[in-house]
Amino acid sequence: MKTRKSEPLFHIVKRKDMPFGKQVMVRAIAIVAALIVCSVITIITTKMNPLAIFSAVIQGAFGSTRKMWITFQDTSILLIIALALTPAFKMKFWNIGGEGQVLIGGLGAAACMILIGDKVPDPVLILIMLVAAVGLGALWGAIPAIFKAVWNTNETLCTLMMNYIAIQIVAFFTILWEVPKGSGKIGIINQNTNAGWLLQVGNKYLLTILIAILITVGMFVYLKYTKHGYEVSVVGESEMTARYAGIHSGAVIIRTMIISGGLCGLAGFLLVGSIHHTITTTLAGGEGFTAVMVSWLAHFNPIAMIGASLLIVFLSNGAAQISQNCGLNQSFGDIITGIIIFFIIGCEFFIRYRVVFRAKKGAIPAPVTGEAVFGGGPGDESAVKEIKEEEGNDND
């Protein structure tokens, strides 16, 4: 044990649950602070009124009935992907392959529209599209899961690489099916026959929204009230415990990833069948990665994910309006969104942890409750020791 002269200036301690009211307040402070920083940056860099920027964001996301529908539709797609990733995350299986699973699902749906669009009646075609999209998405999720379950490969790398494989496969088929020749794009599929286009419920945005609501409720129930959901969390806590409890963790991993990939495939199906009616390598548009953030921000709670994905979509759809209203480049919108998201993620840290400062010289150190997470290096030992004495050795 090293000797040391003083304890560090501060160390970080995990909190017990913070009361809900206080959590809301921390988040509100974070948003206000973010807006203040955004305002300062806006004034310094553009000499424009920050209020014009903020009102553009609101206008961009909710400025007209159509914009509201689009915001809710985009939220729904992001939500579905986030929900799809969540069971995998709860299992501590880091599925960052949402992008590829969505894309390959979309490719499956588009392939059916192109190849058999004029050969089978529409309801049959849509059913085949659905099966193809969900099936391919599930396959794309199952492959890394099988590798993990059987050979214990690193799922993060594996799912990430599967994204690039999916992108290249889509690129190949884009060139194969391009119209006109050499143009590198497929364009709207069956534009004149509308074969394989999903039915419009009320308007063209509502179907996606309804499906997202169904999946949210379904996922909430699945994770919270079913045996599968319980198994997922046990495997996530500890594989050893799972084995002890008689859970075959390999099977749970594969099964969960089939669900995860399948749901991503469903998102791809909606993107192709209901929204874009085409397939491009950018169909998923990075949402497979954004969804990771949504899932984490919401602490894997399906209901909270509605708010998290709405927030992200609100910011990104809103930011697009900045360039139209204020004549500023898209990068400026990205900076503003980046700052706000940074503060929101940052405040989660203060909700989960607290900073304990060094007690004044001569004073008795304040009793610390909670769990030591990380401190200021070798000089921190007494602080950690203190906590260990109080809480027992339960570092994670």
Binding site: I175, S183, G184
Partner: protein, 398 residues
């Protein structure tokens, strides 16, 4: 702490109240609004060319100009077009090839609004009355730029920098699409009209805008012995690579003289201002907009920039001569006596003018001894997709 919070809260409330008054509208002489959809923003030479023209046309006509940048070639385009219609635009334009299908959908949804689309191919077959295509005889501009490049090659040969056999031009194309093929072929024909020994190598990047890929492609061509470079892709990748390597460059969409002072020869571009003015004016007055509009040298739509320092002596005078011949109709870029395909003179060719998934040739386009590109009664977007002798395609994967 509580005090601090209450101050913060008060500030937010004041801010949110003020926010309602934000966004002052620009005044314009008429109530007419013109909406524009661009694939990228002003960092892309291609889009910048459209943005400048849109601003100028709207200013001259005194109409309000609403611009949406960075709109992808998907449902976002249709949403953007619908949103512009919601905002009261009577004229809506999109600049990228992949926007076309979504513009057609938006045109069907908003029959009272005029939709115009550059580089598209479907207006003449789709039968949507308020949807129109536009392009320009940019192959004439490319040909003139080729003349400048050919003269540069001649200068390099005369100075002993290269031999006649080494007069190899490199060209970076985006896709193996007719618009690109028409572009590099007309450029090459211009080069060869001045420097008969010239050959050309073409490589494709598979993207309309990919700075890294375009830079790498230019470097690859230069390393492969190309002594002059030109491109049909929208970033500064190729011009920058040329400036770094000291290889003369003919750029596209606008002058790159500022970034490449030592190597820039000339650039051809389409000036969209005449088209925008005509189309917006017609939309305002309720007059018909042509289904397929082709801007020409005569309409002021096809332009060359000022020559750069790398251009050979006497280039301007020669360009003016050739331009006069093109305008008079005594010279045709795709004159079938000036090129061969697989060693044969082209007597007849069925081009794929009407877009279909099987790429079927449907129109005879050899008229009076020349390939009638962007011709009357066909379509505005190019359909020249032949591989002529003297041009080697290094890859065709896109």
């Amino acid at each position: 702490m509580k005090k601090f919070l209450s101050i913060l809260l008060a500030c937010t409330m004041v801010l949110s109240l003020c926010a309602c008054n934000g966004g002052g509208k620009k005044t314009s002489e008429t109530n007419f609004k013109a909406g524009f959809i661009f694939l990228h923003d002003e960092n892309s030479t291609y889009d910048l060319n459209f943005i400048n023209a849109a601003k100028q046309a709207c200013e001259e006509l005194g109409v309000e100009c609403i611009m949406k940048t960075n709109i992808p070639e998907g449902q976002e385009c249709q949403d953007a077009a619908n949103d512009l219609a919601d905002q009261g635009c009577g004229f809506i334009f999109a600049d990228s090839f992949g926007h076309e299908d979504y513009m057609i959908e938006a045109a069907k949804e908003n029959p009272d609004v005029q939709f115009c689309h550059a580089t598209g191919t479907k207006a003449h077959t789709e039968g949507v009355a308020n949807f129109h295509n536009a392009f320009a005889s940019i192959y004439e501009g490319r040909y003139l730029a080729g003349v400048a490049a050919g003269m540069k090659l001649n200068e390099m040969i005369a100075e002993g920098k290269i031999t006649e056999d080494q007069a190899k031009v490199g060209y970076i194309g985006a896709y193996t699409y007719a618009e690109v093929i028409s572009g590099y072929t007309s450029f090459f024909l211009g080069v060869r009209s001045e420097c008969p020994s010239a050959t050309m190598e073409v490589t494709f990047t598979g993207s309309w805008y990919d700075e890294t890929a375009e830079k790498e492609a230019a470097t690859k061509l230069i390393n492969g012995g190309c002594v002059l470079i030109s491109q049909h892709a929208d970033s500064m990748g190729a011009p920058t690579a040329c400036e770094n390597a000291g290889v003369p460059d003919v750029s596209y969409n606008g002058s790159t003289a500022d970034a490449c002072p030592n190597t820039f020869i000339v650039s051809s571009r389409i000036d969209w201002t005449p088209y925008f003015k005509m189309a917006i004016k017609n939309a305002m007055e309720g007059k018909e907009i042509p289904t397929d509009y082709v801007g020409t040298l005569a309409t002021g739509s096809v332009k060359l920039t000022e020559l750069g320092s790398a251009a050979a002596e006497g280039t301007q005078a020669r360009i003016d001569e050739v331009k006069a011949e093109l305008e008079a109709g005594t010279l045709h870029v795709f004159d079938t006596s000036k090129f061969t395909v697989e060693g044969q003179k082209l007597e007849s060719y069925m081009a794929d003018v009407d877009t279909d998934p099987n790429y079927e040739g449907d129109h005879e386009v050899i008229v009076d001894g020349y390939f009638n590109e962007s011709g009357e009664g066909f379509r505005s977007a190019p359909y020249f997709d032949l591989n002529i002798d003297g041009i080697t395609l290094l890859d065709q994967k896109y």
